[in-house]
Amino acid sequence: MLAQAADPYVVELERFHGPLDLLLHLIRKQDLDIFDIPIAHITAQFLQAIRQVDRLELERAGEFLEMAAVLVRIKAQLLFPRRTEEDEDDPRADLVRRLLEYEHFREAARALERAEAERLRRRAKGYVPPRPAPPQAAQPLETEWAELWTAALRLAERLAEPEPLHQVTTRAVRIEEKIELVLQRLAEVARYEFGSLVSPWGTRIHAVVSLLACLELAKRSHLALEQQRPFTTLWIRRPLELDDAA
């Protein structure tokens, strides 16, 4: 997929609805006389445009190659000096007829497209869905930073401060440690709740530093954060590429 997208010729070819569409494009773009197509010139351009045709699926590739064969045959026929003045003898005649016929329908299709666009501006009863279905699948994070922050703080508040057995000085919570912990968990499970990172300690500072660690890792694309709606469960999961590779 990625290799294809990087190749301009394949992308170009994909854009066309078929060999006639491509041929018509070449002729019209250069303002050539469709009744007097310079076959050698057009054939060369057509072959150039489809040189990556093997990247297309088999059926589509066959369609383009068939047209290439037609063009080459016409080109060969034109080389014979047995041309008369009669139109019927022009080996291009059938191709021209097909091109014009296709072009007419392409225009008709565009007219339909305009009618469709106009029609879609009017809506019937039932257009607006009864109620928005909650998204089921994992979705990319669409939460504002501020909301995320608030959610983390609320979580920290909800966690009961454990009864201190004896007085200790607050130990500094280092972000590097949390980063390690986050990644360690992620190596074990593909997806887990943010809350589970914090609960063993249950203090605000752990929640905040854990969040900072997650944000830092998300920035470096080591993980992805998910939240369906503000103030709901925050999920940590492996980034998509890693998931696919696994």
Binding site: H104, E107, A108, A109, R110, A111, L112, A115, A117, R122
Partner: protein
Amino acid sequence: MRPSRIVEALLHASHAPLSAAELARADASLDEEVVERALAELRAEYAREERAVEVVEIGGGYQLLTRPEFAPYLQRFDSVPQSARLSGPALETLAIIAYRQPVGRAEVEEIRGVGAGGVLKTLLERELVEVVGRSEGLGRPLLYGTTRRFLEHFGFRSLDELPRPDELPVVLARSGAEVTSHG
């Protein structure tokens, strides 16, 4: 009950266009002529009151549709974008079927220069085209035509409303009863 109110109730409650004959079936006091008058009355009333909906003649019937200028407000509720627009190949195939119906798959493929199997399947599934018969030609291939759903999708009253760009030649005229076989 005034006929225009009965017609309004039916149009309001219906998802799809209703024909004058269908509307007339609602009550013994109605016939198609009365229904047509009621529809005209409703139209005038909605226009006068600058209502957001209007009675539109579409797909061989009548339907309450929002006026086009409200499209921007409705757009953000589009939860099924899939239902909206057709692809380029689908439109081309539909154009050929619409103008040439009844028409076989071979002719569609000949005109477009590409296979039509996948696109035809999609169009059949979406009920925009249907099988309308078989050709007399070799192998008696299936012939396709457009449906009422097709008219609704494009906002046409009938096939006579198909857009006809000036450059469309005579050969694209509807063939009507004539069934041609394609080799």
